[in-house]
């Protein structure tokens, strides 16, 4: 297992190198640069040339790349052209928002998706099963931003039950030692803040988690259907084992393997930027930050932010692969 982990970690090096070249070349292939984004109608050819010179954008591409590699190797991801803040500071402040949102969305998707899929498989062919299929199809089909707007309209604007934007009520003075607002409220014993942060997560989590919910429900259903028809399950039932024990010990555990793969992929995608959800709910996370950086041609942000997320994605999938071993001893031995 240790050798496996070390080997995967070593693979990070060529992945990051390749990714850095791809990102660097791709964003410079896009038309225009940061100057028009900074100045808009006020840009003049003289100011554009001056800023390009200051930012080194008039240097040969290999010189620009070398400067980028040098600073990144020192652990310095640079400074945002738009906000003039270090990229590492921006990531440190924004990543917890995205993690908290992604985690909440995944909890929602798992909390509903796993039982839905499992019971749909148990009641295969029933009305419940058909309804779950239709529901998951709708869940995958509805655009996230549309669902987000509808949820906000119903639960915030019309009913006034839940907040529509942000991570916390601006009138609450709370400390944020970790950057995870719910956890911060708990560790600082500010229960009002913890509760308020939780409320702010409900609608975005539902909107963002709708697609993973649908996928997890479908995969769980399909996987459980396969497993519950296996010989060893039939044998266990024939030997008189109670249905509950058969489901828990044999069916669920084996049905979860493909679901774990999906969870890993979904978490990576969620962390990669819940752009639309963050935009609609005004959550200052990584997704909305990177989207804005692309519009603004903020090269340091795009380079640093995408690289960071790539590393996170690799680590998440490593954890997923390791978790297989715990679920299935045969994988652990091999």
């Amino acid at each position: 297992m240790l050798r496996f982990i070390v080997r995967r970690l070593f693979l990070l090096v060529p992945i990051i190198l390749g990714l850095s070249i791809l990102i660097f070349l791709w964003i410079r292939a896009l038309p225009g640069g940061p100057t028009q984004a900074l100045l808009g109608e006020r840009a003049t050819p003289a100011s554009i040339a001056q800023i390009r010179h200051q930012l080194g954008l008039d240097k040969p591409i290999y010189e620009q790349y070398w400067a980028y590699v040098r600073t990144t190797a020192e652990g310095n991801l640079g400074v945002s052209i738009s906000s003039r803040r270090p990229i590492t500071t921006e990531i440190r402040e924004r990543f917890p928002a995205t993690v908290e949102l992604a985690f909440s969305a995944m909890i929602f998707a798992l909390f509903l998706g796993l039982p839905l899929g499992f019971f749909a498989a148990k009641r295969h062919g029933s009305t419940f099963d058909h309804l779950s299929l239709v529901g998951s199809l709708i869940g995958i089909s509805i655009p996230i931003f549309f669902l987000a707007i509808i949820l906000k309209y119903i639960f915030s604007v019309r009913l006034g039950w839940l907040p529509s934007i942000g991570r916390q009520d601006v009138l609450i003075d709370a400390q944020h030692p970790t950057g995870f607002y719910v956890l911060d409220g708990i560790v600082t014993f500010n229960w009002n803040a913890a509760w308020d942060a939780t409320k702010h997560l409900i609608l975005p989590a539902i909107a963002l988690g709708s697609i993973p919910l649908a996928i997890i429900a479908r995969i769980t259903r399909a996987s459980a259907l396969d497993v519950q028809n296996e010989d060893y399950v039939r044998t266990a039932r024939a030997k008189g084992m109670s249905p509950g024990i058969v489901d828990r010990r044999h069916v669920m555990r084996n049905a979860l393997l493909p679901v774990v793969t999906i969870i890993g992929l979904q978490v990576g995608l969620l962390l990669g930027g819940a752009v639309l959800t963050e935009t609609v709910f005004a959550i200052p996370g990584m997704g909305s930050w990177l989207a804005q950086a692309i519009f603004n041609r903020d090269y340091p942000v795009i380079q640093g932010g995408v690289l960071f997320l790539a590393i996170v994605f690799v680590f998440v999938n490593l954890i997923v692969d390791i978790s297989y071993g715990f679920l299935n001893p045969r994988i652990r031995v091999s």
Partner: protein, 561 residues
């Protein structure tokens, strides 16, 4: 298992209901004098000369004050930290008599030395701060630095020469040449006076330059300790969360409002960034914010239709125009440019696509700005036959092929829906003897880059004024040769320079009226609308006077119950 499933589902639904009910019960009650404003982005830094974006300038205009300001709701210059001023006969020395007894919010005294300290600080900015990306307004108004970096203008080009403190209450600003626009530009909040002690103590100019060439400020003046003389001061700022201003107890204006809170005046202002327009509207509807700016035209009926919300109009201080690049024939022919003017159904576009919030115009200057000519301006009412006749007079065969550019992925205050404007103009031009080839590109960087580098023959664009002086409209666009408009007109350039140099207001007004008429005779552009941007507030916000240039006097507003 079936019973457990049912129990689980019931428990989940009950939890959701409990969350909602408890949420409603735990809604924090807002203090009656706290206003939460929805901004479109976080400020960059709270240091006036280092920014040019509206969201930074909004809190900056409340923390810092300049020598002069603008009368609320207008562009008329009024005293602020200076009570009066005069110019020398040669127009090169401006003497400002300063208000006495004023303190910065750190308790230090405001005086002439503080004024000169600030002006000299800006003039002596180091190289990395000298580009338009950082010090756009100093570059635009004062045009040079004491120690220019490569590519930056130096003392030979600068308008600013120096500053002298004469006693405590008189500051003399010395210029290298006459400039009437200088006074109006001082009303910009970027030229607010900061506490010299705080500038030094909190290292306002300290920073490093990354290998990418980006200047990163490392002092805390602009992020934690922006000290000015304004009605508000910074309490806290967490980017991505909120920026909190509280009333400044040392504010000299308090003398005229001793019962600040009791009278309902706002004593706490909270700005929170909500980039999405629809999200800002919904936040206003739910009460999470009390107001926001740049209401989308399609949302105005929603705000007006609500019994708890209201629209506040910002006086029009912008212009939308069809730009003409005379470097691309046949646009160098004045008859063809006149044909374009007659061939654009401007009133039709404004009446159809501006929702009653646009004023069709025949001039580049907005009507409330001095220099707006009340008579003698050439008129070009929509007349396809006249347009065709002019093209034939120019010796051209109809239809005349032209390339017309418009931007996508953007809505500007002066041009909410560019593609619709374009389609209507295309149709009217094609009735007027032209054959239009459409070109479009995303607003930035592609569209702006194409237009500003002279790649567009006809194009849709506009301008929102920064300060209350016609030079900010006419000189910026037509005061020198540019690739965008592709013409060289020494007579027009001279007239605009003369107007800018004139310090007597009446003469200046007359010169700019003449320039305004000259522009419409020469036709480098065909202006078509001055639009009215809008803010939206909860109905209990009273007395809010919107500024044409975004310097909104929040301290004059009150919050009712």
């Amino acid at each position: 298992m079936g019973r457990k499933l049912k129990f689980g589902l019931v428990a989940a639904l009950a939890s959701l209901a409990l969350v909602a009910a408890a949420g409603a019960a735990l809604q924090g009650g807002a203090a009656t004098t706290t206003l939460v404003f929805g901004a479109s982005a976080d400020p960059v830094i709270l240091d006036g000369p280092l920014v040019s974006d509206g969201e930074s300038l909004r809190p900056i205009s409340l923390i810092f004050q300049g020598l002069v300001s603008l009368k609320p709701g207008s562009t008329v210059i009024v005293p602020q930290l200076a009570t009066s001023w005069s110019t020398s006969k040669n127009g090169l020395n401006w003497t400002f008599n300063l208000r006495s007894g004023v303190k910065f919010s750190d308790g230090t005294a405001f005086n002439a030395k503080a004024v000169c300290f600030n002006f000299n600080r800006w003039y002596n900015f180091p190289g990395p701060l000298q580009t338009d990306a950082v010090t756009y307004y100093w570059n635009t108004v004062f045009q040079g630095f004491a120690h220019p970096a490569a590519g930056s203008p130096g003392p030979d080009k600068a308008l600013y020469k120096g500053c002298k403190a004469v006693g405590s209450n008189t500051a003399v600003i010395q210029l290298t040449r006459k400039s009437g626009g200088f006074l109006g530009a001082l009303g910009l909040s970027v030229f607010g006076i900061a506490s010299p002690q705080a500038l030094v103590q909190y290292k306002a100019d300290a920073g490093t330059v990354t290998p990418d060439g980006v200047f990163q400020p490392t002092g805390t003046f602009g992020t934690q300790h922006p000290i000015g003389t304004g009605p508000y001061m910074l309490k806290s700022w967490k980017i991505g969360d909120k920026l909190v201003l509280v009333k400044n107890p040392t504010y000299w204006g308090n003398a005229s409002s001793p019962n600040w809170s009791r009278s309902g005046k706002i004593d706490t202002l909270i700005f929170r960034a909500i980039p999405d327009n629809a999200a800002r509207l919904q936040a206003l509807q739910t009460g999470e914010i009390t107001g926001y700016d740049n209401v989308a035209p399609q949302d105005i009926p929603t705000v007006r239709g609500s019994s708890s919300l209201r629209v506040v109009n910002r006086p029009p201080f912008n212009v939308a125009y069809v730009g003409i690049n005379q470097a691309m024939p046949p646009m160098n022919n004045p008859l063809v440019r006149q044909a374009v003017a007659y061939g654009l159904d401007r009133a039709g576009v404004v009446n159809t696509f501006y929702g009653g919030r646009g004023q069709t115009t025949d001039q580049f200057l907005p009507p409330q700005l001095f220099g707006f000519a009340k008579k003698g301006v050439p008129q070009y009412p929509y007349n396809p036959d006249k347009a065709k006749a002019l093209l034939q007079q120019a010796g051209l065969t109809l239809p005349v092929k032209i390339d017309f550019w418009f931007p996508t992925n953007v809505s500007r205050p002066y041009m909410p829906d560019p593609s619709r404007n374009f389609q209507a103009f295309q149709a009217s031009l094609e009735k007027s003897g032209f054959k239009v080839t459409p070109h479009s590109a995303p607003w930035r960087p592609d569209y702006l880059g194409t237009v500003q580098s002279g790649g567009a023959q006809l194009f849709l664009l506009g301008w929102t004024g920064d300060w209350g002086d016609p030079s900010n409209f006419l000189n910026v666009h037509f005061g020198s040769e540019t690739k965008q408009f592709g013409f060289n007109n020494p007579a027009l350039f001279t007239l605009l320079q003369q107007a800018d140099a004139e310090t007597d207001l009446d003469k200046r007004t007359a010169l700019y009226q003449a320039a305004s008429i000259a522009v419409m005779k020469f036709l480098p552009v065909v202006p078509y609308v001055h639009s009215t941007p809008a803010l939206a507030f909860k109905k209990n916000v009273k007395g809010f006077i919107a500024s044409p240039v975004g310097l909104d006097p929040f301290w004059l507003a009150t919050l009712g119950k």
